[in-house]
Symmetry: C2
Subunit: 329 residues, 2 copies
């Protein structure tokens, strides 16, 4: 740990209390002039200190940035986010992660950007990624699973993200099949998995995750406001993006290991527990037209099992389900 | 049909008999000088004619080339091989097909090369593709299936190819799980499917097929000779590559349509009927070590169901199976 890191650690331990220059210089074994220089350096990185003569310094605010050095310091994972490629601005984290994977980037490589100018969502949709307000990231995974099981991985990512959001914000996030995260019926997150496979093996999967963390109401158009929300809007206060990022990667790492050890069984149980799609009327535009029924569970492959009104069961492997308005139920 | 095409058709109908210049010029309504020019043009394309005064011409040999114009004329498909990109020499048909698909090439686009300088097989292996002796091709498919079903498509391609080889050569080709084609225990063909998927949808699949059609014994190293063979070696005569190509694409098109209409059920039955892996001792290097058992069938996802010696059943989703030597059975 260098002096800046030790300085931050010390201020964090004091939890907003003043620390005298004398104590700082004694603890860190350097001159008070050196301490002043380090504090100035941290200020330039976005830390906000109050300095009062004869009392010393206290830390008022940490920068809301996701710098790789900071991530490396905070993150308790072994695989995910090792390494981090961080950008103030990028076309699309997903596109860069593909390039890195093609060039042989190791599993766990994370691309994160404060702002995307050409963020991509599912089905070629654009993804609104304004600066410093969300978590926009893509990571390289190389799952050792048959291709048949690849859709299970997307469900797993939704579980990890839902658990992380619940832990960090206490908001009642839930999963809409297959992998949208909702709060109060409105979308807060999107997940896009793109896989490159050879025969029955995925070579790598690029998992893109967008979380509307600290977007405010005026970041949304009226149209979007009806269907989308952010963690800040829902909880009334900004979320610590760094904490959310680390929690998500840690959850994902532990579920990913569980998936490789025990298969989809435990993931399926967790998904079902967090689902807002089950035991509800759902409808889906299929090749055979608009079909409506009651979602009753996931099958072992990750497909949604739906009971139709004639009592038969069907499976949906893909699609964007809707919850019909109550009047039709 | 232009004059050259009509000329070829006429000679083909005569099945090696002489046709007089007089008859040719009357049938095609052009001068005998023009006929002579057309025959010279065809000679430059590889057709071999015998010309005898007072008898006329007869066709001895057609060129063994896969020119797109010729393919377009012979092929009875609507989707596959529309269009054909033909090359005398190419690095890898697979790599070019990926580029074409990325640029929006339509489903059915076929890349074919007389020779590949960097042909690719499974698991990054090189694929030996000498000039004019095999069929080396890759095609762009855009199956409308969930990702879970993508491995079934590779099995389907093996079925189409096996049926085409049997029809054209009468050789007893069989399928070794998942998609190797064998004659007398030796490999004659390789299939490599590479898929690009978004969440639970394959966006496109590049299916690469290499058929050792007219390779001769001296085209193989001693090491390869023990495990690989060609249609020409097995049947003792060269195979008509154009006929084989057309038959394969026609079989594939009809099975591909069946797959979209009725799912994997009928394909599974065809695969099992052509399999040389079933009801045999098989072994496979798995994450849990070398496992041996008796292959008893495909499951609905395309995995191989294997009965172990303790009576339990297991499923293999991937791998390169081996048939243990008889002494261990």
């Amino acid at each position: 740990m260098n002096i800046n890191e030790r300085l931050i650690r010390l201020f964090e331990q004091k939890e907003g209390e003043f620390v005298s220059g004398e104590e700082l210089s004694a603890t860190l074994s350097c001159s008070r002039t050196a301490i002043w220089k380090h504090v100035e350096k941290l200020r330039s990185e976005g830390y906000v200190f109050e300095a009062v003569s004869r009392k010393g310094y206290r830390l008022l605010e940490k920068p809301d940035k996701l710098e790789p050095e900071l991530i490396g310091r905070m993150l308790k994972t072994e695989l995910l986010g090792r390494p981090v490629h961080y950008y103030e601005q990028l076309g699309s984290t997903q596109t860069l992660a593909h390039e890195l994977a093609r060039e042989g980037a190791p599993e766990g490589t994370l691309v994160i950007a404060e702002r995307q100018t050409a963020g991509r969502g599912r089905m070629g949709r654009k993804w609104h990624s304004p600066k410093g307000k969300g978590l926009w990231m893509s990571m390289v995974l190389k799952p050792r699973i048959p291709l048949q099981f690849a859709p299970q991985l997307t469900l797993l990512v939704a579980v990890a993200l839902c658990r992380a959001i619940r832990q960090v914000t206490s908001l009642p996030a839930g999963i809409k099949w297959p992998n949208d995260l909702l709060i109060g019926g409105k979308k807060i997150s999107g997940i896009l998995s793109e896989s490159i496979s050879e025969d029955e093996h995925p070579l790598y999967v690029i998992v893109g995750v967008g979380i509307s963390a600290n977007l405010r109401e005026d970041d949304y158009t009226e149209e979007l406001k009806a269907v989308a929300t952010s963690l800040q809007i829902e909880s009334g206060k900004p979320v610590d993006r760094m904490e959310l990022l680390c929690r998500f990667l840690e959850e994902l790492e532990s579920l990913y290991a569980l998936f490789h050890q025990q298969g989809f069984g435990p993931i399926k149980l967790l998904w079902e527990a967090l689902s807002v799609s089950l035991n509800r009327r759902v409808r889906n535009q299929t090749a055979n037209g608009l079909i409506e029924g009651t979602a009753i569970g996931l099958d072992d492959s990750g497909a949604l099992t739906v009971r139709l009104d004639d009592g038969t069961e069907t499976k949906w492997y893909s699609g964007t389900i809707e919850f019909p308005p109550l009047s039709s139920q």
